[in-house]
Symmetry: C2
């Protein structure tokens, strides 16, 4: 039996529709009870100490697809940023599908799989730039675009029910330094062919104008470095290979040798060279040798622009880097923006550098950075090229996606739909609409263990982080009588409150009548007495547990 | 005996020299063994969930002055912001000195003292604008200036060894709307008289140009509100009374009635009216009545611009405000900047408003806010007026103070000194220099209890917030033998790790030999076994405690 009329084309974001990070989109094709799935990107979100203390990485909950993994045809990656590939090593075992990426991206994915011991099981297939793939109903064409990393790709995904243009992360740059400028004609041809939907980056949908050109950053950085006399350190994202090249050449133009400082600087430049980039990158010198050169002849290219405590720049600022020391007369250039949530850590780094007498130069006062995401003029250009029937903003928080949708409507896109993770959007047939809501959410990488966010492990830690912990253990003998003294653990509770809590426990224990009471009633009475006393005296209600040992 | 030659004039910041907030400066005069002290400002810093989870307020550690409180002559306040007066209610009991402030500031201090039940003990003396005070060697003149609150004051502090100009928080505004424009002549006269030191606000020392005029915000806001059709809510700091007036008049100019929403809006406008401000403030309507007006006739003036979870705007955005509801077609204007550390909370608020279909307008795209602190052009102007021998930047992190000092030197101030909290700077006689380092630091208001930061209560909570907690209680009988089963509490540790930790405890207990072992050895062995197993399996080392109950 075959009812082709039942076929549907759906988009199911499980990450990225509601946050910048954790990008994970699935395209489904087929009848509702037998959809084939194509996954585009598989990224992480970085945990924040406020919301999720102790959680390094956050990943999408993909159980819905894992349960039907025999229908998952492939995972294709648009580019190598962590928010697009970072979860592969953790989620691939639930999917076991083939992986496809262009050479530079593929190389970094292989590194990632090797780290988690999956290199012999997960197969990474290399797609040439501009390459085409076919998986069941999905015909995929890679289209080179520009972003802040080598080999960013948009995807044209053709299906029997129409074509989706999935942009990945992108910007327009007439002179990107690495890779060709974006081929507007290619997107215009997709528009001429007829695009059902444009699924597009929303990161800068709130920002007027144009993101700016890397070539202008190069000029500006070169000029700025020319004004500096002492040692210069420049920090930025290692994955922005064009920026590394920019900085290295600006250094050379000013007679400075470049030393790479920080593990990812070496890792990324290695991967870039191995895949044919950075052919004319200046020869770098060892960071230890750089210390012996005159200050005016050195430029350190450092990791740590976001204030990461273990990165090179943080160690330099704290004076405990083994090979690099900066002091009065030296300067640090932050060739990067402040990612939301990192401001305090970055300012702390600025303060430490200031304390050393180092001058700090940032994007606030100098033209030393451009964004890798499209601002409103670029988004408008893309909509003029592709002319989709439906705009589906992704890669943004709700505020970005809502404004992106508003912009698309203002450009006369017939329909713009804001969906959240887990909402299944039918793109065809008919007008686009949400037809289902599937289990979704976040999974924490907590230490080395994956934990569903909903279980509340991090939430419990956060509660103790706020209000402290009371742990009380009582001993009961075989007649149910209290034996010995209660053991009371008070964590994160001011000393001044301890006596009161001890008193409350003692009173509650005295009130216990072994003839009437049972263990649960005793535990609950003690728990409530301790917690209430803490609240009365201290003003906070600690997380409180009571255990009983029977002897 | 009298050796006037021994007299020294010193500045001792105990807060604010190293952070924006917690301002607390002490001026000392006399011989080293008998200095008289004048305190200028007594503010708080707000705690951050990352560094100090569960701490609402942070105050300076003033034990050095408390120990010699008979020599503390007075506390004078420059203006009523929390980072200048917020600690009075908590620290005054350690000082018990008279308090002096201008009328509006005094009124808010009285409110604060009433809250903590000190109103009958602490005396607040009202100083008229431009008033003069004399305490021992200190002759003090209040000089009106401009800032983002009514009645900001600089202080000219004259002593037998010279005059200090202490700016407080300030800016220059040709048309401040409340209060007169800053009287440049007054500062020029101080310069003519001869100023030893300028102790000056560093907040915007990294910002080029000029902070801008409130009158221009008024024009711009009025125009912007004119373009909006639905309900409009504007949020900003309640203490910025000129801004409240600006917004209310922009509302009236567009035919909108104003409703105040949020407790501090009512509290501050009340204090302002009671002290003679806001005489022509439009009559406000009740927030409940406003709901019955056509959307185009209403403007809500709301607290909560920093994403504070219990403030009016957060409740509106969550749809649980009793009287105010916003939806599609409505707009919220953030007439404020993002204070560092608040970006995530503010963005979350934007996301919630976007989810309701509300348009969010901010300083990113609209001219709806100006800073209350001097940018570099204003700082330069002040230095040209006062021409001090010594510049002492305060009210800033190290990065702000360092750059401020660099600016002062570029303006040919002979000496610019960056000092940190607890460093005692001798201003006269002789060249300014640090002559002592006194006990200083931070005190947390943790719940309702004051705790020295160094004690580590918040640090312990933060450690548990990151790595969880293991609490183990063992029972020993009178022969030192283990009785019953160990009670194990595991908090914030993934379920998948629990079995391993239980096993490790059981193994350690089995290895215990009551004939040889002692209690401490047992506890340490169990503690290490549990913690090590958690580290091996999970990758994190929980805070771990072991208690023993003897029966």
């Amino acid at each position: 039996m075959n009812f082709p009329s039942q076929d549907e084309l759906v988009l199911l974001p499980l990450g990225g529709a509601g946050e910048i990070g954790m990008n994970f989109n699935a395209y489904g094709f087929g009848p509702p009870d037998d959809r084939k799935w194509l996954i585009v990107d598989c990224g992480v979100l970085f945990g924040r100490e406020t919301d999720t203390p102790g959680v390094d990485l956050i990943m999408p909950d993909i159980r819905y697809l894992a349960e039907q993994r025999e229908n998952v045809l492939a995972m294709v990656l648009t580019h190598a940023h962590e928010d697009h590939i970072g979860a592969i090593g953790h989620l691939w075992p639930d999917l076991k599908c083939p992986i496809y990426a262009t050479p530079f991206t593929a190389r970094l994915i292989v590194d990632k799989l090797a780290e988690v011991g999956l290199i012999d099981r997960a197969r990474v297939n290399v797609v040439p730039l501009g390459g085409k793939l076919k998986f069941g109903p999905f015909d995929i064409e890679y289209i080179s675009i520009t972003h802040s990393i080598p080999e960013p790709n948009a995807l044209a995904i053709r299906t029997p029910l129409g074509m989706v243009v999935h942009t990945g992360d992108w910007k327009l740059d007439p002179d990107p330094l690495i890779g060709d400028p974006t081929d507007g004609d290619a997107f215009r041809r997709l528009g001429d062919e007829g695009a059902l939907a444009l699924v597009c980056d929303s990161t800068n949908a709130l920002v007027q104008g144009h993101s700016g050109s890397e070539a202008r950053v190069k000029e500006s950085l070169s000029q700025l470095i020319g004004t500096l006399k002492g040692r210069v350190a420049v920090t930025g994202f290692a994955s922005n290979v064009a920026r590394l090249d920019t900085i290295a050449k600006a250094a050379r133009a000013n007679g400075r040798d470049v030393a790479l400082v920080g593990r990812s600087m070496h890792r990324i430049t290695g991967a870039a060279k191995a895949t044919g980039y950075l052919a004319d990158f200046p020869t770098t010198i060892d960071e230890a040798d750089a210390a012996h050169l005159p200050p005016s002849r050195v430029l350190y290219l450092c990791t740590g622009s976001q204030g990461e405590p273990r990165a090179a720049l943080a160690r330099i600022a704290s004076g405990d880097h083994p090979n690099v020391a900066l002091g009065p007369g030296d300067a640090v250039i932050f060739s990067s923006r402040i990612i939301p949530g990192n401001d305090i850590a970055i300012h702390e780094l600025h303060n430490k550098l200031s304390a050393l007498g180092v001058e700090v130069l940032t994007v606030e006062d100098h033209f030393v950075h451009v964004s890798g995401h499209p601002c409103r003029e670029e988004l408008s250009e893309m909509y003029r090229w592709v002319r989709p029937k439906v705009a589906v903003p992704v890669h943004g928080e709700l505020r970005h996606m809502s404004e992106h949708a508003r912009l698309a409507r203002s450009l006369q896109v017939p329909q713009a739909v804001v969906i959240e993770n887990g909402q299944m959007l039918r793109l065809a047939p008919g007008r686009a609409q949400v037809i289902d809501e599937v289990p979704s959410g976040r999974v924490h990488l907590d230490g080395r263990v994956k934990v569903e966010a909903g279980v509340g492990v991090a939430r419990n830690r956060r509660a103790i982080g706020y209000a402290g912990f009371i742990g009380i253990t009582l001993v009961l003998d075989q007649k149910g009588r209290i034996a010995g003294e209660p053991a009371i653990m008070l964590e994160g509770i001011p000393e001044a409150v301890h006596g009161d809590i001890h008193d409350a426990v003692a009173e509650a224990v005295r009130r216990y009548n072994p003839k009437k009471g049972d263990e649960d009633a005793l535990k609950e009475a003690v728990r409530r007495a301790a917690r209430r006393r803490a609240a009365d005296v201290w003003g906070k209600k600690p997380v409180t547990r009571v255990e009983v040992i029977w002897i």
